[in-house]
């Protein structure tokens, strides 16, 4: 195989060729400078060895010009490297709209992946060819890092906070998936494979292993199990807590006057430490769910909240009406007990 000869990982994602091209440029520049310096050092050291009859009369020399040259040339070259590297990096950190979102939970010493359709797998990850995949990742204990050399992607997975990474597989096959951040005794065994499949094959794989509930449905079940629905009522009904419809991605005004975007990290924090960010107009009466629900459960709840309608991050000063309406799966909870709490002020 080609990789055996070149000691290079396969190019199996849309980033691989970009990163390798940049790597090639860096190799070229470094190669030229290494050879140049090694040659000059050896040439001078031999030619002007002590006792040799080489001409040593010191000429005028353009001392300052030379110093200037080896300041300016490296500066220009490194700025090219910086710009090129930053451009590719920027793309790596911006998942495209409509990417398939797969959740990843790391723990000592295994990876758990949850597909939106409800499939979950351990250490291995199946993905369809040619579609952007976004991993939404969190750790249950220490810092881990998802690394797929063939995709040229890596992202640390932190406890207590979601990080994301994305890639678009471009070649079917089986590729290493490593934990790259040292995480304890069996760090080197915290690995598996990414299987890139033809889309049809992927659908088959999904169907063949489906356990019945999609992430959002599983989240809804959990939502009811944990009695979230007793306080968080559908929009239009007064609940003890704010309605969660159209919440995801919207701006939320807090009691302390701050405004936050309701993203995954905000929702997670609100489940585990509800008192830390209280929505304007509501009392800090929600109990913590720390210890009652694991990271995987939280991810399911977030999937449920997302399915209750997703709004684009509202533009500054724009009205709430610009948000798209609730899409699907609005819960038909009717145990509602109207409260006389005021509705949250959504916009200023």
């Amino acid at each position: 195989m080609n990789t055996q000869l070149s000691f290079m990982p396969e190019q199996a994602s849309s980033f691989a060729a970009d990163v390798d091209a940049l790597y090639g440029f860096l190799l070229l520049v470094s190669g030229v400078f290494t050879v140049l310096i090694a040659f000059l050092v050896m040439f001078f050291a031999i030619k002007y060895r002590r006792g040799s009859l080489a001409d040593r009369t010191q000429g005028e020399g353009h001392f300052f010009l030379m110093e200037l040259a080896w300041i300016i040339i490296p500066l220009l070259l490194t700025m090219v490297m910086f710009y090129w590297g930053a451009v590719v990096f920027f793309e790596q950190t911006r998942p495209p709209e409509g990417a398939i979102e797969i959740n990843a939970v790391g723990k000592q010493w295994m990876w758990k992946f949850q597909h939106p359709e409800g499939n979950s797998e351990i250490n291995d990850l199946h993905v369809p060819l040619g579609q952007p995949i976004k991993l939404n990742m969190i750790s249950e204990d220490v810092i881990h890092s998802v690394y797929v050399p063939a995709f040229r992607v890596k992202q640390d997975v932190l406890p207590g906070r979601y990080t994301t990474m994305w890639f678009k597989p471009t070649k079917p096959g089986k590729y290493h998936l490593f934990c790259a951040e040292y995480c304890g005794a069996k760090h080197s065994e915290m690995r598996g494979y990414v299987y890139v499949m033809e889309p049809a094959e992927y659908q088959q794989w999904l169907a063949g292993r489906n356990q019945g509930l999609t992430m959002a449905d599983a989240g809804q079940k959990l939502f009811e199990q944990l009695r979230c629905n007793t306080c968080h009522l559908p929009e239009g009904q007064q609940g003890r807590g704010p309605s969660l419809e159209n919440l995801y991605g919207s701006k939320v005004r807090l009691q302390n006057g701050q405004e936050v975007i309701a993203d995954d990290n905000y929702i997670r924090e609100s489940i585990l430490r509800p008192a830390s960010k209280v929505v304007l107009g509501y009392q800090p009466i929600m109990p913590t769910y720390e210890g009652q629900i694991g990271e995987e459960g939280i991810l399911k709840l977030i999937a449920e909240i997302k399915s209750l309608g997703k709004s684009e991050p509202a533009a500054n000063g724009q009205g709430a009406n610009s948000e798209p309406g609730a899409g699907h799966g609005a819960p038909e909870s009717n145990q509602s007990q109207p409260q006389d709490q005021p509705r949250p002020v959504e916009q200023n």
Binding site: T3, Q4, F7, M8, P9, D18, V19, L22, L26, V29, S30, T34, I37, A38, L40, V41, M42, F44, A45, I46, Y48, R49, R50, R56, Q58, F63, E67, W70, I71, P74, T78, M81, F82, G85, A86, V88, F89, Q92, Q108, D141, V142, I143, S145, Y147, P149, A150, V153, K154, Q155, D156, L158, P159, G160, A180, Y182, C183, G184, A185, H187, S188
Partner: protein, 552 residues
């Protein structure tokens, strides 16, 4: 006063007293330098032994020599010993301690007792580190990343971290001593621009020691507070932020790389000048580039955290700043190269190390550009590419310079010459062994092998076997100097005051120097590196071999 002669000076700092007490309570910077030399060699051997186990283990992909827990403790031991107890003190505490007063024409460092205290702190720290090792070891890696170190690891984290904490104070005291000495104790006539470049670089490194080390002390204290008192600083389960530790840690540990490499530059400046018999090309540029590195070095720590989850824009700023380090580094390399032009190059052992240093530091520095490049770093971060890169800087750079310096000043320190043939042979062995060990690791890293892996996929075995083979040559290469330098203490040729025909005040006093360094306060009337034309120099050496500027 005794009049100096080539044969044995009647009294010197070595034969001034022989009791154990006269060594353990000495305030003579030269004796303290030797105490450090012995101690760091001991720690180097322990760190090297751990590395040997790691390399032997990695010959097979299965992880069949030791358990994973043991493997993790071995690479941690290797990193902790080599970084905190060998590389950081290596050049400053041995060569720096010995040479700074001699080079500025002083009797001792500004605070001799503080200097001794610094050695005792260092030994206390080393003892803590060894205690942790023998009590059961520590498995966090030398980086102590949280929350693994603060909450999850059940090994001897605090003993080791406390060792690093105490070693830091030793480092601060050494740096402080150098700064004050260089400011206040220069001989009459020795202006800043007449100083050897050695002093410029050591001064820049001292600034970092004094300013950066307190931050790692804070970081270690915080880990202790979380680990022992349960105060949530880094563990999110306790309301902390794990990334905060990385910021604190790298704010010290990146500049710490410059604590290791700036003193190496210091040595190389002297070696290149001496063995090419030329004033270094661009003296002021080389001098100021050390300060540029020291200053910019404080602003680049975030390049260790491009994939840690820090903001994309922070990553970009840190990337751009990191590239700036390349500028002063290339100033140095090009100026050293230009110094060789129309020079009179002598291929003696220290020069072999210096030439090897230029090559290896160039590769180490250029591969640093790969790591500063955001998109490439995403791929090679935490792989063997990084391992290879920092070994090219720390071992190919600092250790090569250290060995070159030890050979160069060995006659001054001990009064004996090292055996040239053996020394050249081992310099070549070390250079070859080093490249065989670490070059394959660049390939492994880009191929995708993560670092700190005990068990690895089979396709990586070929390169790992090559690396281990190289390491065995490197290991043998290191044993040679240890052996023949000890041998030379008794059987080496007696050294004249200035065996290599170098300029600088340390060569004007006998080898080994008397306790008070100079019998009269030297007065400096000329620029540094004012080499006489070659034939004249040889004649001068023959006629008035000793301390002509002092005793005239």
């Amino acid at each position: 006063m005794n009049s100096p002669t080539i044969t044995e000076p009647r009294r010197n700092y070595l034969n001034a007293a022989y009791s154990v007490r006269s060594w353990l309570l000495t305030v003579d910077h030269k004796r303290i330098a030797l105490l450090y030399l012995l101690s760091i060699t001991f720690f180097f051997l322990i760190g090297g032994l751990a590395a040997a186990f790691v390399r032997v283990e990695l010959m097979t992909p299965q992880g069949d020599l030791v358990e994973s827990e043991t493997y993790n403790k071995l690479f941690t031991l290797h990193g902790v010993m080599m970084i905190f107890f060998f590389l950081i003190p290596a050049i400053p505490a041995t060569l720096g301690n010995f040479l700074v007063p001699l080079m500025v024409g002083a009797r001792d460092l500004a605070f001799p007792k503080l200097n001794l205290l610094s050695w005792y702190l260092f030994m206390a720290a080393g003892t803590l580190g060894l205690y942790a090792t023998f009590a059961g070891g520590v498995d966090t890696g030398w980086t102590f990343y949280t929350p693994y170190s603060s909450t999850y690891s059940n090994t001897y984290v605090m003993a080791t971290a406390l060792g690093a904490f105490v070693a830091g104070f030793s480092s601060i005291l050494t740096g402080l001593n150098f700064i004050v000495t260089i400011h206040k104790m220069r001989a009459p006539g020795l202006t800043w621009f007449r100083l050897p470049l050695f002093i410029w670089s050591i001064y820049a490194a001292s600034l970092i020691m004094v300013l950066a080390t307190p931050v790692v002390a804070v970081a270690i204290l915080c880990v202790g507070m979380e680990r022992l008192l349960g105060i949530g600083l880094f563990d999110p389960a306790k309301g902390g932020d794990p990334i905060l530790f990385q910021h604190l840690f790298w704010f010290y540990s990146h500049p710490a790389v410059y604590i290791m490499i700036l003193p190496a530059f210091a040595v190389i400046n002297e070696l290149i000048a001496c063995f090419s018999r030329r004033r270094p090309f661009g003296y002021a540029f080389i001098g100021f580039s050390s300060f540029a590195i020291a200053i910019v070095g404080f602003l680049v720590w975030g390049h260790h955290m491009f994939v840690s989850g820090q903001s994309v824009y922070a990553g970009m700023v840190f990337s751009a700043l990191s590239f700036l380090v390349a500028i002063p580094s290339s100033i140095k390399v090009f100026n050293w190269t230009a110094t060789l032009y129309k020079a009179s190059v002598s291929w003696q052992t220290p020069m072999l190390y210096a030439l090897g240093f230029i090559g290896l530091f160039t590769i180490g520095g250029l591969t640093g550009l790969f790591l500063a490049t955001l998109a490439v770093d995403v791929h090679v971060h935490d792989t063997y590419f990084v391992v290879a890169h920092f070994h090219y800087i720390m071992v190919g750079g600092t250790v090569m310079a250290y060995l070159g310096g030890i050979h160069f000043w060995w006659p001054k320190m001990t009064g004996r010459m090292y055996p040239e043939g053996w020394a050249k042979l081992s310099a070549i062995l070390i250079f070859v062994g080093f490249n065989l060990t670490f070059f394959p690791q660049f390939l492994l890293g880009y191929w995708g092998m993560p670092r700190r892996y005990h068990i690895y996929p089979e396709e990586f075995q070929v390169l790992n076997v090559m690396s281990t083979a190289g390491a065995s040559i490197l290991g043998i290469g290191y044993l040679f100097p240890i052996t023949y330098l000890i041998w030379s203490l008794r059987y080496g040729k007696k050294a004249p005051p200035n065996p290599f025909g170098h300029t600088g005040l340390e060569w004007t006093t006998p080898s080994p120097p008397p306790t008070e360094n100079f019998t009269r306060v030297p007065i400096v009337t000329e620029e540094a590196y004012n080499f006489l034309p070659e034939d004249t120099a040889r004649k001068v050496e023959e006629e008035t071999p000793v301390g002509s500027t002092i005793h005239s």
